[in-house]
C-alpha cells in the first residue's frame, strides 16, 4: 500500500511539471466539446420526435465525457510499453511485488492524476456557459453520490483495460495500429463520441452489456438523473463484475506470458 501511494505521488509531481501541457490539453478538450455540442444542437433542432435523451442531458453528457477523457483507457502506459519494446521488461520481473498489481497501481495513477487536474477547470467553465452549451448540475444529492460511486467503478474498469493494453504490447511489439484501433473502439463504445442513449436500439442493448458502457455512460446517466438512485446497486455491481473479470483476465495473460519469458530465458 505504501508503494502504491508513492507511485501516485510521483505521478502527481511529474504532472505538475507539465502543467502547461495539461492546460493546453484542457483547452483542446473544451474546443472539441463545443463542436460536438453544436452538432448535437443542429440535430436536436431538426427533429420534433421524442428522443431517448433531452438536449440538456446530452450536453451534460458531452461535457462529462470531455472532462473525464483522461480517465478513459484510450492508451497504455508509455513507460511500460517502452520497457517492453526495449526488452528491459525483464528487470521489472525482479521487483519485489506482483507485476500485475504494480502495473495496476501505475495505471491508477495514470488515470487519476491528469483527470483531476484537467476536469475541474472544464467543469467550472462548462457550468458557466450560456444556456445552449451549458452543463447542468445533478438534480439532487443522491444523483451526485451515485455519480461518485460509479465513477470509481469506471476507474476500476479503466485500469484493468489499461493493463490489458500494456500486456498486449508483450505479444506484438509492432502492434501500434491495433492499439490505436482499440483506443478508438473504447472512445466510441463508451459514449465519448455520441451519447450511448442515442444509439439505435439494438446496438444500444448490446453495448449496455459491454464493459465500455461502465466507463462514461453509467456514471453520466446517474449524474443527469436519467438513472434513478435506487438502481445504483445493480449498476455498480455490473461495473465491479466487469472490473473483476478483466482483472482476472489480465492476470492470467500476464502470468502465461511471464512463464513463456522465463522458459525462453527472457
Amino acid at each position: 500500500m505504501k508503494a502504491f501511494i508513492s507511485i501516485i505521488r510521483i505521478r502527481f509531481n511529474l504532472l505538475l511539471q507539465y502543467r502547461i501541457a495539461a492546460i493546453a490539453g484542457g483547452v483542446t478538450q473544451f474546443f472539441f466539446g463545443m463542436i460536438m455540442i453544436m452538432v448535437l444542437y443542429g440535430f436536436y433542432s431538426s427533429s420534433d420526435g421524442e428522443m431517448p435523451m433531452s438536449y440538456q442531458s446530452a450536453i451534460t453528457y458531452i461535457w462529462m465525457g470531455q472532462a473525464m477523457l483522461g480517465m478513459l483507457p484510450w492508451n497504455g502506459d508509455m513507460e511500460i510499453q517502452n520497457l517492453i519494446r526495449t526488452g528491459n521488461v525483464s528487470y521489472e520481473l525482479l521487483r519485489p511485488m506482483n507485476l500485475y498489481n504494480y502495473w495496476f497501481a501505475r495505471a491508477f495513477a495514470l488515470r487519476t492524476a491528469p483527470t483531476l487536474l484537467k476536469s475541474i477547470p472544464i467543469f467550472i467553465i462548462a457550468l458557466l456557459l450560456p444556456s445552449d452549451y451549458k452543463m447542468h448540475l445533478p438534480p439532487n444529492v443522491s444523483s451526485f453520490i451515485a455519480w461518485i460511486l460509479t465513477t470509481f467503478g469506471a476507474l476500476m474498469i479503466s485500469c484493468t483495460i489499461t493493463n490489458i493494453i500494456n500486456i498486449t504490447t508483450l505479444y506484438s511489439i509492432s502492434g501500434d495500429g491495433i492499439q490505436r484501433l482499440l483506443s478508438s473502439i473504447v472512445t466510441i463504445f463508451s459514449g465519448m463520441v455520441v451519447p450511448l442513449p442515442l444509439f439505435p436500439e439494438k446496438l444500444k442493448q448490446i453495448l449496455s452489456y459491454l464493459p465500455f458502457s461502465g466507463l462514461v455512460d453509467i456514471p453520466t446517466r446517474f449524474f443527469t438523473g436519467e438513472i434513478a438512485f435506487n438502481q445504483l446497486l445493480g449498476y455498480f455491481c455490473f461495473q465491479c463484475l466487469w472490473a473483476v473479470l478483466l482483472y482476472i483476465l489480465g492476470q492470467w495473460i500476464l502470468n502465461r506470458k511471464i512463464k513463456d519469458l522465463i522458459v525462453q530465458g527472457g
Binding site: I20, A21, A24, G25, V27, T28, F31, F32, I35, M36, M38, V39, L40, Y41, G42, F43, Y44, S45, S46, S47, G49, M51, D132, S174, G175, D176, G177, I178, R180, L181, S184, I185, T187, I188, V193, V194, L198, F199, P200, L203
Partner: protein, 266 residues
C-alpha cells in the same frame, strides 16, 4: 522544375524507408482505415436517430465527410514535416536544413512524407463514392472538376493551418497543442454543412479559418442547392481557390518565422 525532381526523389526515399518496416506499415495503414470508419460510425448513429440535420440527409453529409477527410489525409501525408516541426528544431535537423542551398519549405516537406495516411484517404474515398452513388447528382465535367478542386483546395487549406502551427512554434512550443486542436477541430466541424451551426461559429468557418470555401460552398454547388447563406451562388465554383491563397499566405508568415529564428537562434 528542378525542385519537383528533388521532391520526387524525397518521395521515393520516404517510401523506401517506410517499406523497411513492412508489417508495421501495413498494420498502421489498416489501423488508420478502420479508425476513420469508427469515426464515421458516430455520424451514422446520429442520422439513424435524428433522420436529418437541418434538412440534410445522411448521404449528403457523407459527401461533405468524404471531401474533408480525403483533403485532410493528403495534408497529413505530405506536411508531416511541418506537423512534427518542433521535433525537427529540437534535434537540430532544422539547422541542417538551413545549411543546404534549397528552400526550407521544400526540405521540410521532403523530410517526412507519410504514406500510411493512405488509410484515411481510402476511407474518405469509399464514403465519397458511396455518397455519389446514393445521391442523384447530375454530373457535368464542371462538377467533377469542382469536386477534385475542393479536395485539393481543402488539402491546401489544412496544409496552411499546419504550416501556421509550425510557424508559431518559433515563438512558443507550449501553445502548440491548442493550435493543433484548431486543425483537428476544423476537420470535425467541416464534416457537416456549416449551415447547421450558429451564426457566430459559421462566421469563423467562413472568414477566419475559411473551411467553408473548400467544403460547404463547392459541395452545395455539386448538390445543386442554391441556398449559400446569402452568398452569390457562383461562389462555390471558385471558392476552393481560397484554400490555395490561404496556403500562400501561410508561407509568407512562415518566412517571417524563419527570419525570427535566424535572428534569435532559439
Amino acid at each position: 522544375m528542378d525542385s519537383i525532381k528533388l521532391y520526387f526523389k524525397y518521395f521515393r526515399f520516404n517510401i523506401e524507408s517506410q517499406l523497411q518496416y513492412k508489417t508495421s506499415f501495413i498494420m498502421m495503414s489498416i489501423g488508420h482505415f478502420l479508425i476513420t470508419f469508427i469515426e464515421f460510425l458516430g455520424v451514422w448513429v446520429l442520422f439513424e436517430r435524428f433522420g436529418n440535420i437541418q434538412g440534410f440527409i445522411f448521404e449528403e453529409a457523407a459527401l461533405f465527410y468524404g471531401i474533408v477527410h480525403m483533403a485532410f489525409a493528403i495534408t497529413e501525408g505530405w506536411t508531416r514535416g511541418f506537423d512534427t516541426f518542433p521535433k525537427l528544431v529540437r534535434l537540430g535537423d532544422f539547422d541542417r536544413i538551413l545549411l543546404r542551398p534549397r528552400t526550407t519549405v521544400l526540405q521540410i516537406l521532403g523530410h517526412d512524407i507519410q504514406m500510411m495516411r493512405i488509410g484515411r484517404f481510402m476511407q474518405g474515398l469509399v464514403v465519397l463514392i458511396w455518397a455519389i452513388f446514393k445521391l442523384n447528382i447530375e454530373w457535368t465535367l464542371g462538377k467533377t472538376l469542382l469536386l477534385i478542386g475542393s479536395i485539393i483546395g481543402g488539402n491546401f487549406l489544412f496544409s496552411g493551418l499546419i504550416v501556421l502551427q509550425a510557424t508559431l512554434s518559433f515563438w512558443s512550443v507550449q501553445s502548440l497543442e491548442i493550435v493543433n486542436s484548431f486543425t483537428y477541430g476544423g476537420v470535425q466541424a467541416a464534416q457537416y454543412p456549416i449551415s447547421i451551426y450558429k451564426p457566430w461559429f459559421r462566421k469563423i468557418l467562413i472568414y477566419i479559418i475559411p473551411l467553408a470555401t473548400v467544403n460547404y460552398f463547392p459541395a452545395m454547388t455539386i448538390l445543386g442547392k442554391s441556398d449559400l447563406l446569402s452568398f452569390s451562388k457562383w461562389i462555390g465554383w471558385f471558392s476552393p481557390l481560397f484554400g490555395i491563397l490561404f496556403f500562400i499566405f501561410s508561407l509568407s508568415i512562415w518566412r517571417i518565422g524563419v527570419k525570427h529564428y535566424t535572428s534569435t537562434g532559439s
